[in-house]
């Protein structure tokens, strides 16, 4: 029963990793951009939820309703200006620019909000949990985050495979020049993909703040976990991202069960094993690496 609990806790945190990683995966899959500021954008979303939305009389729990669309707009604008300008130069520039963005965001947050830890206040919900068995506690917040992750990935999957805009996103990811020849403004489509990615990362950031304490420098470690999730699951596969997140979460919980210091280590070992044995990831296509 102890092991069942380890797996359950792993699955719960894995849902969060998947939610965090899907935007990273989308930006890389469509624009070939590795957004090194991805983790910091999540942290910004959490700060906006804690410090800014209360001014608009929106409780922190419901902040995602306004913060996610707001981040969608920010994502579109950042893509059409900063990131597109970097893509137009060369792929390496996008790494430098997003890394610079990451440094700027972290330092601005430190300057404005100090390095004190914050949480997104969800009231009494934080201590409530479902207790089906003597040693198994399933936190409602974690369960809600897992449900949100599954819902977001499912909606994204349906949007990409069924809608006209989703089809254009996939077409542009395959060959943006050919898409132009069919009358598509690929920069606009890149902007839409970035908007989706930023909206999901805002949800992830607020979820993070509900589950645990965050600080201006929390982005880095979460970005690492997001990378590991994408690589384990396979680039370009949304359900792979969910499985990757869960695999990472379970591995970490197993490590932590033996010794809390082994939590991150166990995840890193799983990541390295997958990279060595199946570099395209569990659900990725070999062609995606070409």
């Amino acid at each position: 029963m102890i092991w069942l609990n380890v797996v359950i806790q792993g699955v719960l945190v894995g849902g969060f990793y998947a939610l965090f990683a899907c935007g990273l995966s989308l930006m890389f899959g469509v624009m070939r951009v590795i957004n090194l500021a991805h983790g910091d954008m999540a942290v910004v979303a959490a700060y906006v939820a804690v410090f800014l939305t209360p001014h608009a009389h929106i409780p922190e729990v419901w902040a995602f309703v306004v913060v996610a669309p707001l981040f969608g707009v920010v994502g579109y604008v950042v893509q059409r200006t900063l990131i597109q300008k970097s893509i137009d130069r060369d792929p390496f520039t996008t790494l430098l620019v997003t890394f610079g963005l990451s440094v700027i965001i972290e330092n601005l947050l430190l300057e404005i909000y100090s390095s004190n830890g914050q949480i997104v206040n969800v009231g009494e919900l934080i201590v409530k949990s479902w207790h089906p068995q003597t040693i198994i506690y399933i936190s409602y917040v974690s369960l809600a985050v897992l449900a949100a992750a599954v819902a977001v990935l499912g909606l994204l999957q349906v949007f990409l495979s069924k809608s006209g805009t989703g089809r254009l996103i996939r077409a542009v990811a395959d060959d943006h020049e050919a898409a132009q020849l069919s009358g598509t403004n690929y920069r606009h489509i890149f902007g839409i993909a970035a908007a989706i990615a930023f909206a999901t990362v805002a949800l992830a950031g607020i979820s993070y703040g509900m589950m645990t304490e965050f600080a201006p420098t929390s982005g880095g470690i979460n970005l690492l976990f997001a990378f590991e999730t994408v690589v384990i699951g396979g680039i370009g596969s949304l359900w792979g991202t969910l499985v990757g997140g869960i695999a990472l979460g379970v591995a970490q919980q197993f490590g932590a069960h033996f010794n809390p210091e082994y939590q991150v280590l166990a995840g890193n070992i799983l990541f390295l094993v997958v990279l060595a044995i199946r570099p395209e990831g569990l659900f990725g296509k070999r062609t995606a690496l070409a």
Binding site: R167, R170, E177, A178, S182, N185
Partner: protein, 247 residues
């Protein structure tokens, strides 16, 4: 009175230092086929890509139905009615056949072509419309690429090296479509290395040599000897006749 669809005037294009297209002018009328012939590196593909907007010209103008499109982005030209079937097909490889056509039709103008019409032109397509584009043979991919361009209902169709890498029987089938397309009033600008093929379907022929126009005329009035000279360069064929026939 024929209607001029596409009018290219003194177009010059550089690839870095290299002058790939040097002061080329031509017109494409509604319902006619203009074939560009020339050896590898003569600048034909660059010319086509520049007309579609994928390359920037150094100088010169491109007019489409009287409108100067020289400064327009490729997608704006596509929506106006200029469609390029690029060299190497360039399908969306992870999308299905039908999705490739749907992307082509996303910004389509009104006109005779639709996905259903393309399915009539290529009767093997409906049964395989859910297959991914990368699963098709070269000839099939070329047909899908033509279909993807047609569903946008273009006024001018730019065809780049249709026969490249395809079996003769497949080439024959694809070329057999051209009269059908032209009959709908579409003007075609065809780039072809295979002179016999290209001149066979052409109303007029434009020869390019090292970026410059070396010969123009209607396909009826030009002799194969003239075209051969224009293809390889006059002096060269006088001193050392080409070993391989361009056809």
């Amino acid at each position: 009175m024929s209607e001029i669809l596409l009018e290219v005037d003194e177009l010059t294009v550089h690839h870095g230092q290299l002058c790939a297209v040097d002061g080329v002018s031509f017109k494409v009328d509604r319902g006619e086929v203009l074939t560009m012939v020339g050896a590898n590196g003569a600048g034909k593909s660059t010319l086509l890509r520049t007309v579609a907007g994928l390359h920037h010209q150094t100088s010169g103008t491109i007019r489409f139905q009287g409108v100067n499109v020289t400064k327009l982005a490729p997608q704006r030209r596509a929506r106006l009615g200029i469609a390029l079937v690029p060299e190497g097909r360039r399908l969306f490889s992870s999308l299905t056949l039908e999705e490739n056509l749907q992307v082509g039709a996303h910004h389509a103008a009104r006109g005779p072509f639709s996905i259903e019409r393309v399915y009539e032109l290529f009767d093997w397509m409906p049964a395989r419309r859910r297959q991914r584009a990368w699963q098709f043979s070269g000839g099939e991919q070329q047909a899908i690429a033509i279909g993807r361009a047609l569903v946008a209902n273009p006024q001018v169709l730019l065809l780049d090296e249709l026969s490249l890498g395809l079996a003769p029987i497949v080439i024959e089938r694809i070329y057999a479509l051209i009269p059908d397309i032209v009959a709908h009033g579409v003007g075609i600008l065809l780039v072809e290395q295979d002179v016999t093929l290209g001149v066979g379907v052409a109303d007029r022929v434009h020869c390019m040599l090292e970026g410059k126009t070396s010969l123009t005329g209607t396909s009826g009035e030009l002799t194969s000897a003239q075209i051969e000279r224009a293809y390889f360069g006059g002096e060269m064929s006088a001193t050392s006749p080409p070993h391989e026939s361009p056809a």
